[in-house]
Symmetry: C2
């Protein structure tokens, strides 16, 4: 049997809009989610989990309480649990996030950007 890998670019080609995470793979109880983003997200935190951001294309800035980090294609950053953060991308950017399944995209905040249940693609 020939199994198929998950191709990141192929998955990104299926999504439209910004800040709308989609599930693409599971690792135990963790979810791999992808999103196209542009502009500013909201300040929020995840009290129970770290959160991984990997950039597939473009440039992501994660604002943190005492500074920021710029994450480019081929790079990742781990936001530690409990730390406030605000993602930002000046131009459209493709990000992969890894976190426990069920982690809310807006963390401790509820906002018009909150996505209660993600779609799997």
């Amino acid at each position: 049997m020939e199994y198929l890998p998950v191709n990141f670019n192929s998955k990104f080609s299926k999504i439209e809009g910004h800040w709308q995470p989609k599930g693409i793979a599971r690792l135990n109880n963790y979810a791999f989610k992808i999103a196209k983003i542009k502009g500013e997200f909201i300040w929020h935190k995840h009290d129970d989990t770290d959160e991984v951001f990997i950039v597939n294309r473009g440039e992501l800035v994660i604002n943190l309480p005492d500074g920021s980090v710029k994450v480019s294609q081929g790079e990742m950053f781990v936001v530690p649990k409990g730390i406030e953060h605000k993602p930002f991308a000046a131009e459209e950017c493709e990000i992969i996030m890894i976190e426990p399944e069920g982690t809310l995209n807006t963390g401790d905040k509820v906002d018009e950007k909150t996505i209660d249940e993600i779609e799997w693609i």
Copy 2:
């Protein structure tokens, strides 16, 4: 404060030799490990966890009990827990693995390729 991302190519440039996983980041109790590989690994399985393989460069083949999967740059595959697998790369390949910290590279087997404790770079 300016934080620094983890740059995959920069981390890979620090390692020599094949089949020697190095830790590069933590997500809760999970480890991100990287390795350069070439040739055949051994058949093994992880009874307690799924295992993610992401290819940073080159082409990875994962042999499975009833077939195989080819994973290229920009692709990932999740080997489900308990499933025997044997990674293979015809040419040198750079892989990123994600699994619970402490997961043994040779799973249920002990072999000259077994690495009891990984180095963090």
